[in-house]
Amino acid sequence: PLDTNTFNYASYHSLDEIYTFMDLLVAENPNLVSKLEIGRSTENRPLYVLKFSTGGTNRPAIWIDTGIHSREWVTQASGVWFAKKIVQDHANNEGVASILETMDIFLEIVTNPDGFAFTHTKNRLWRKTRSKHSGSICVGVDPNRNWDAGFGEAGASANPCTETYHGPYPNSEPEVKSIVDFVKSHGNIKAFISIHSYSQLLLYPYGYKTAPAPDQQELHELSAKAVAALSSLYGTKYTYGSIITTIYRASGGTIDWTYDQGIKYSFTFELRDTGRYGFLLPAKQIIPTAEETWLGLKVIMEHARDNMY
């Protein structure tokens, strides 16, 4: 029978295979891993979050999500690898094991399941959700423009047929609203990391305004350390900085909202490609991408643990 040791982390998987992986991981590690359903997508698919906890109640926590843009397949694949890595570290009492002594980790691997299923069946390059709002002749909203942070301002599109359509109103997308509700109800998340691809960037707020984040200096220094750790493995070059100074103005973004909620350590990763394949990164690059990203994530998680606020 399949188990998470025979699971092929060096291949892309369908939604059902990833759901199966999650159930296997929970079954194999009942004292560490549990699966929460934080909501349902537009097409009524469950929005699953894996919780890694060694006990306590409402401990300070770290949130990691992958796949909010469905075509960015290396991110969901990396999320699967991260899940297994957390379990292995805990079993070997190394890496993030020390973080799990005092913090919980929440990992949402398929943050946009409708879009992800659509990339496997109808359109490999679908990015958005699959919602249909009255008055829109096109399907889908960009789930990274739908948050209540500068929503609808410059840096997103009001045209439902574009890739960066912000949606009819903030949190119109259940995939977004579910995370908003979870973050608000948990109330003790200290680091929030949303993972995208591609272009090798580590970004922190803001995207919707030019004003620097109050913690900009600390976030910049922490980014430098995280990028140094990431690059140390395979030499993958990353750039880092605030969203608006590093790429462009983007409104309604995830980490601008989480930062404005008081989650100081809010970051977005843009994983590989180094400039040959784009979203179609070959599967043989999944594991090296996940491994190097993990080193950067660990720096951020350890900093959050050591600098509780």
Binding site: N8, S11, Y12, T121, R124, I247, G278, F279, L280
Partner: protein, 95 residues
């Protein structure tokens, strides 16, 4: 299922404000159905554009007429999608 036969991904690295402007003009031409994988961000930073087959020639003509250099990052997008599908099939068969 959406296929990408004949689609190409072009990479433009704007070297001047004029280059950047020419690329941004393309963003406004909705009839070309361009998909900006990497949107324009500044000088010296790659812009990757998925170009559907019918728009390949007009887009190349637009860039060449403006003297904007580009490279073809993905020559045949459908071939890459097919290769990815084959790899997944092999993997699940092994399983």
């Amino acid at each position: 299922t959406e296929t990408f036969v004949g689609h190409q991904v072009l990479r433009v690295v704007p070297k001047s404000d004029e280059d950047l402007q020419k690329v941004q003009e393309l963003q406004a031409l909705e009839h070309l159905q361009l998909d900006f994988w990497l949107a324009p961000r500044g000088l010296g930073v790659p812009v990757d554009i998925r170009v559907p087959f019918p728009s390949v020639q007009p887009v190349k003509a637009h860039l060449e007429a403006a003297g904007v250099s580009y490279s073809i990052m993905i020559e045949d997008l459908q071939a890459l999608v097919d290769e990815e599908q084959m790899e997944m099939l092999r993997s699940s068969r092994q399983l």
